[in-house]
Amino acid sequence: MYEHDVLIIGAGLAGLRAAVEAEKLGLNTAVLSKVHPVRSHSCAAQGGINAALAARGDDWEDHAYDTVKGSDFLGDQDAIEVMCREAGDDVIELEHMGVIFSREEDGQLEARAFGGQRVPRTFFVGAITGSVMLHVLYEQATKNDVRIYEEWFVTSLIIEDGVCHGAIAFNMHTGEMETIRARSVIMAAGGAGRVFEPSTNALICTGDGLALAWNAGASLMDMEMVQYHPTTLAGNGILLSEGARGEGAYLLNSEGDRFMEKYAPEFMELASRDVVSRAEQIEINEGRSVNGNVFLDLRHLGKSLIEERLGYLQEVAVEFRGIDLAETPIEVRPGVHYIMGGIKTNVDGATAIPGLYAAGECANVSVHGGNRLGANSLLDTIVFGRRSATAAAEYVKTVGTLGRSDERLWDEKARIQDLLDRPAGLRWAAVRNELAHSMTEGIGVFRDQAGMETADAKVDEMREKYAQVSVENKGKVFNTDLVFTLELDYMIDVAKTITQGALMRKESRGAHARTDLPDRDDENWLKHTNVFKDGDGVRTETSDVTITKWQPVERVY
């Protein structure tokens, strides 16, 4: 049995930022991740991190308004204010830690333009911003000697009398299950993009943290808000950063027209992601596409700009498509990228379960509402990763001696053993692929009642099939077959909350674009959807959106 003040589950940007803060506050801190920290999916964030720097003449309230508008007025404005007000200090702190942000002539930080924002306020490192930030935060964790349970997999949270007291996890290197008791837990386990296929997300983005918190009784809020990124590759779904359009790249249809003129005459290619993805989908549906793709055209930017500021995009284009972006437009389409929905928290990362905090993509504070602005996700991880650690530090002062019971451990050992002992049946991969394809089909860029109902029924069918999934590898050492089978369990839970949230919301807002209900309905649906676990079923309810100073208006780009 291990014991800590704070156990942080997930070692991406939110988790590591929380860890560095918790260590600074003197907590006995541990981070647990199913992969080495630098393999976390934060590494794939490309374009940058937003902040309104006052010294640069920018105003955090302008950033807040762009974010509110981007969210289609579903974001909680108190949370958005916190994030945008604190962004500047956090970005400067990252620079002080060693992030090699791009500079102006005079050596100050340089910002690039990004979608849905009226001024450039996205700070960046070429097209590898997330990777550099992640490696720098890992450097800081190394410097502070943070305890890391590396390649450990969580099977359950420990909830005693309604309070979170740690987690049950196994060491993937040995297969041994352990009780990790903690006075507080910060869930920072990232998104769930693999619930869809294709997806820009890594194979590890299976919604583990979302499902763990949900099974422990937390609300998953606004789960229908699934972001389709406008520029992804067909087939494997790999992302091409919005940074390309931030640097001036065009979107063209098969007729060579910059079609965004029709949909967002002012912002053009830099409208909000939901707006651009819908525009692309309409072009594709109406046949102005090639093999279901439109084109991202960087040719006019020139080879040297592409290689210096968008080098990773060029690498992807060359390696995966055999295309030189300076010479040939690349085929792109909308692809699942991010989930705005997540574990409902307050501005301090606290969930409704005492002792359980959440930050980053698995959390919903909510700062992204119906649609996240590009480069606000990295900001979200840093601000709320830090804040959740600060709040957890205060909370642990109120927690006395931890219990010693390992009852939960024995339950979990028995459950996993039962899974391993199942007779040969279905393979996890078959069920996972069927689930993911049906989710993309039903919860697409555009949705309707019938399609969402089909997807919802399919999730139930996959839940039934899961009972017949068997684990082929019976070993203990690095048994990825077992890990994937457990991940599939999480994915089915998360998928259910997505279809349920989607069926609840009887309007179109942000990423939730219903062809059968095309208008936003502020009168009835300026509300969050909440899906709770209820026995073997679900319970749904709505909650209010916090408005501070920006009343909803028509959203035009």
Partner: protein
């Protein structure tokens, strides 16, 4: 309809839990598409053919660094290695875990030694002086230059195929040294000299044999060896000249400058340190053997005819770089 493509993969397996754990190869026949990467084929095996095959992978887009392994004996990031670049129909392609690391199971290596070495170089920025309220001012060209090194995703391909690590596992190695360079070359870091002092020690920058293998296999063009060479220059500029490596460099240079060619006997003696009596004695048996076999070079300089031209080159090299 295009014909069905069947690829043959010969995959290294290792099950530490078996009664008699040993490394063996398993052949898989897997139906592939012509655009498949090696990773696509491996994923298909574990999803559809053999759930017991273990490997690491995550992003599929050459940015997380999980999937470095050996393909036909050479380290590659398999997510960005197209199958048709390493395999043609009728042949088989061999997949092994990365080298120079213990194997946990199948294609999964134990990266603990890798990260221990990264930790050895104090891998975090150490600014000195007062912390500004705003950002540190820094030239963009330096940041762009560092981005070339921070392109490193710590995949371990360079470590896998490092020929020095193969014979001496104490060498800090290409990945950790490239990481060290990232701080040494950062204008914001205040410990350049201290860092170079440590890297100058045994197992550091002078242990690289310049075989180029790390440069060759790096999937992100980080150029670890190039970074190591720059740090050698920096170390000597900072006055760290009391190493056999630094003396070797000096002796080599002086010999060419003096005579237009390399005097290998003097090079050996001067590299060891002329006054390093125990060192000189330790080399004596090699010298005697070389003498017996007629391989001992003439210890006296013999000048080459085009000495003037060489001198010009040397003089040019002494001009400050532009």
């Amino acid at each position: 309809m295009p014909e069905t493509l069947i690829a043959n993969l010969k995959v290294q397996r290792y099950d530490p839990e078996s009664d008699n754990p040993e490394v063996y190869y398993q052949d898989y026949e897997v139906e592939v598409e012509d655009w498949f990467t090696v990773l696509d084929a491996l994923i298909k095996i574990r999803e559809e053919i053999d759930g017991t095959l273990s490997l690491r992978c995550a992003c599929r887009a050459s940015i997380c660094g999980s999937c470095a392994m050996r393909v036909n004996g050479e380290a590659k990031l398999v997510c960005k290695t197209r199958l048709d670049s390493v395999w043609s129909p009728g042949e088989s392609v061999t997949i092994d875990p990365p080298g120079n690391m213990p194997v946990i199971t199948d294609l999964v290596a134990d990266f603990k030694p890798f990260w221990d070495k990264v930790r050895q170089v104090d891998p975090y920025m150490q600014p000195t002086g007062p912390v500004p309220t705003a950002e540190y001012l820094a030239p963009n060209k330096d940041m762009v230059h560092l981005a070339g090194v921070m392109n490193c995703i710590m995949c371990g391909a360079c470590v896998s195929d490092c020929t020095v690590l193969e014979v001496d596992d104490r060498f800090i190695g290409p990945a950790a040294l490239a990481k060290a360079y990232r701080f040494v070359a950062d204008p914001r870091d205040g410990k350049k000299k201290e860092r170079l002092g440590v890297l100058n020690d045994d197992t550091g920058i002078w242990d690289c044999t310049r075989c180029m293998q790390c440069v060759e296999v790096c999937p992100k063009d980080v150029d670890p060896m190039g970074r190591i060479m720059v740090m050698r220059d920096m170390a000597m500029e900072e006055g760290f000249t009391n190493t056999s490596g630094a003396r070797h460099t000096e002796s080599f240079y002086n010999s060419v400058k003096r005579s237009g060619r390399l005097n290998e006997t003097r090079l050996a003696i001067e590299s060891m340190g002329v006054l390093n009596i125990p060192g000189q004695i330790s080399m004596a048996p090699v010298g005697v053997k070389a003498l017996i076999k007629g391989k001992l070079p003439n210890p006296l300089d013999h000048k080459i005819p085009s000495k003037a031209a060489v001198k010009k080159i040397v003089e040019h090299s002494e001009e400050p770089s532009k």
